[in-house]
């Protein structure tokens, strides 16, 4: 299906289906996502984008088929190198952004698997354009600020594989641009990025491939119109 040159693959899906009762949220999806590329996943509401990302993140298991992440088909082995941003913020409402990040850092640091150190909370907050001195708990953030704090948590662990579910929703234009610059840097550092959005024009500048989903299937996976310089 995909015409990716055979580098090592960040994600390989083989006939993966996900059923909820008799409803198929994913239907025999076969695809490969190459290391170091940025994939923008488009599709209607209910097409199965979030389900796909949650599946790759290991939060749900496929009903049928095999899904192997960073070369490992066993769930949970690659946790330290996957970052997942969901619709929900995954942050504690009562803690400030800094406290949330510090706590999260503890769970990822000192891990025998990963040798790379983490970002400092201050750095990563600056990356998403949040003021690190803000002492308001996250529960009192506006919707867009919360979304940015959530992204900061994901970025902090310097994951190899980034799964971003609508990172720009509720985020204002200036901050979206800022976030895009960060993502572009990550892509340059050969991180793999899978990103869903309903604003393709926003994500286009960093897209290597555009992946379109429809009713639980990947109907096309094509190089983006303007692949910036680097060979696909």
């Amino acid at each position: 299906m995909s015409s990716v040159v055979n580098t090592t693959h960040a994600v390989q899906l083989h006939e993966v289906s996900k059923l909820y009762g008799s409803f198929a949220a994913l239907r025999k999806v076969t695809a490969e996502f190459a290391v170091g590329k940025c994939y923008v996943i488009l599709g209607q509401n209910g097409a199965g984008k979030s389900t796909l990302l949650r599946l790759i993140a290991g939060l749900i298991r496929p009903s049928f088929g095999i899904c192997s992440i960073l070369g490992s088909a066993e769930a949970g082995t690659m946790r330290h190198s996957i970052g997942y941003l969901s619709h929900a913020s995954m942050l504690y409402d009562e803690l400030t952004a800094m406290e949330n990040l510090r706590y999260s850092a503890r769970l990822y640091e000192d891990n025998s698997h990963s040798t790379t150190s983490l970002w400092q909370p201050e750095q990563v907050l600056a990356m998403v354009g949040l003021d690190a001195r803000l002492d308001r708990p996250v529960g009192k953030f506006s919707q867009g600020m919360r979304q940015r704090a959530a992204l900061a948590r994901v970025l902090m662990a310097k994951p190899e594989l980034l799964l971003l579910d609508e990172p720009f929703s509720n985020v204002d234009l200036a901050s979206s641009a800022q976030m895009l610059r960060v993502l572009a840097e990550l892509r340059a550092a050969r991180k793999t990025i899978l990103l869903t959005t309903h604003q393709p024009e926003l994500a286009r500048p960093i897209a290597d491939f555009i992946c379109t989903m429809h009713e639980g299937q990947i109907v096309s996976l094509e190089p983006a119109q303007s692949p910036e310089g680097r060979s696909a």
Partner: protein
């Protein structure tokens, strides 16, 4: 070492959250106070038998107080799907469990420290047996409640009717522990029998179930 640090990170987070909304602990304290007062309404403490039933009252009150508290332990992990983040983190799941047990143990102990003296005052108790043994029975009993409670609260976490389910699975499994608590407390208060056997049993129960929970927690957390 890393493990200890991770447990501490979890625990510190929980304590901070609790501290920030201090009233949880205030609430629990007041709750236990009320229970004592209420029970002395329902069961006349001047009755001759009050010494015999007060062990039961103490532990039933603590049981219900802890169920209310335990139900909330994991609730904060559910909001905004933080639990998904926990499931995805590379740190060992059992560390998360251990920290929750410690936090709950602290809270329930705090209740006891207030409840105990109140109890003594309201019910005019004086241990006829060896009173200092209560210092063994209370922590051991609390640990028994809290270990299983925390585990089953996690188990019922993503089910429908979460709050309903916890007592339903916790109570039957905790019966031996409850029995041991009540019996040893009564034995100490009345001085009629030897609490030693019951205390040893409590200790054994704690060790067995803590091990079991630590081993099985990963499975529970990972279940889709």
């Amino acid at each position: 070492m890393t493990y200890v640090r991770i447990v501490w990170a979890h625990l510190a987070k929980d304590l901070r959250l609790e501290w920030r909304s201090k009233d949880a602990i205030n609430g629990m304290l007041f709750f236990s106070l009320l229970v004592v007062v209420l029970f002395s309404f329902a069961f006349d403490p001047t009755m001759a038998v009050s010494r015999q039933i007060s062990g039961g009252i103490l532990w039933v009150a603590l049981l219900f107080a802890s169920v209310t508290a335990l139900n909330q332990t994991w609730t904060r992990e559910l909001r905004h799907q933080v639990l998904d983040a926990q499931r995805m983190a590379p740190s060992p799941a059992s560390a998360l469990f251990l920290s929750k047990v410690l936090a709950n143990f602290l809270f329930v102990s705090m209740i006891q420290i207030v409840l105990g003296p109140l109890f003594i005052v309201f019910y005019n108790l004086r241990a006829i047996g060896q009173g200092w043994l209560m210092l063994l029975v209370l922590p051991l009993g609390t640990l028994a409640l809290v270990v299983n409670g925390t585990f089953f609260a996690a188990l019922s976490l993503r089910t429908r009717n979460r709050e309903m389910l916890l007592p339903l699975i916790l109570f039957p499994v905790s019966v031996p522990a409850l029995l041991a608590m009540v019996q040893s407390t009564t034995a100490i208060l009345t001085g009629e029998s030897d609490p030693g056997l019951w205390i040893r049993m409590l200790g054994g129960y704690d060790v067995i179930f803590l091990t079991l929970c630590l081993l099985l927690f990963e499975t529970i957390l990972g279940a889709e």
